[in-house]
Symmetry: C2
Subunit: 152 residues, 2 copies
């Protein structure tokens, strides 16, 4: 039940390391995939599929291909899906070995995002699990507020 042992060092992963992970799973390295990974590895924050699409050299690939790529990458544990509550999924690249579990602080005015190190206290989570007889408990947690720039 390790939940918070991530070190969010924001260091870019090598593209070779990423394609290697794909190859190991007998996935093909295609133009679209390389392009998508290339975008992801340069961004420190979660991106929506549309945002990835917009960053991609136009014509690189179809939006649907991005949806399919993200589904697959998520299944392989190479990206983590985040939900900011606006009905649009966001994805962030996850380092090898890391489970990607962490949280964000989102500005409700301008939607800027800050990666957060803090996590829900394990001890309290454990207590909640036990009190209700649940096993394998995790959580989804995001913070919202007004950022310095938007505070006018």
């Amino acid at each position: 039940m390790k939940t918070c042992a991530h070190k969010h060092t924001g260091k870019k992963q090598e593209l070779a390391s990423l394609t290697g992970r794909l190859r190991r799973e007998s996935r093909k390295i295609t133009g679209p995939r390389a392009a998508i990974l290339e975008i992801l590895r340069h961004y420190p924050h979660p991106l929506t599929n549309k945002e990835i699409f917009a960053e991609l050299p136009k014509g690189s690939c179809d939006l649907v291909t991005i949806y399919r790529a993200m589904q697959m990458l998520e299944k392989l544990g190479m990206v983590k899906r985040f939900d900011f509550g606006d009905g649009t999924a966001r994805f962030e690249l996850v380092g090898e070995g890391d489970d990607g579990h962490h949280h964000h602080l989102i500005c409700t005015r301008c939607a800027s995002v800050v990666e957060i190190e803090e996590c829900f206290p394990e001890e309290i989570e454990r207590r909640i699990a036990i009190a209700n007889g649940f096993t394998g408990v995790t959580h989804r947690l995001e913070f919202f507020g007004v950022c310095p720039d938007c505070r006018k």
Copy 2:
């Protein structure tokens, strides 16, 4: 920045109290609305619009009317919207004065829901806000795990 001063006593609200709140906002008490509130006040857990629709005596009202009612009730602060990450909004009636802020523990197998008293520690949240220069910080938090019944 009070976030967790709720008492989740699960006690049903009087229908009269609910309609009173509507009246005060010069909202009309209609058949559909009374029926919807009637359902909500009997359920201790968040319901989707479809679930409310299903509980309603058939023909009571259109699904769209429920969507509109929930939008309005949310704006008046009479219901709170929750997001369990499955792309479907859920609503729970909120007591007068209460802001409805609380969390849930959801079974990933059978989707059963437990209301949770615990909240993210205010002190840590304050620290996060200050560290990043944000104001008016809150959070969205839900727990997921396998319930006793599903643990087989």
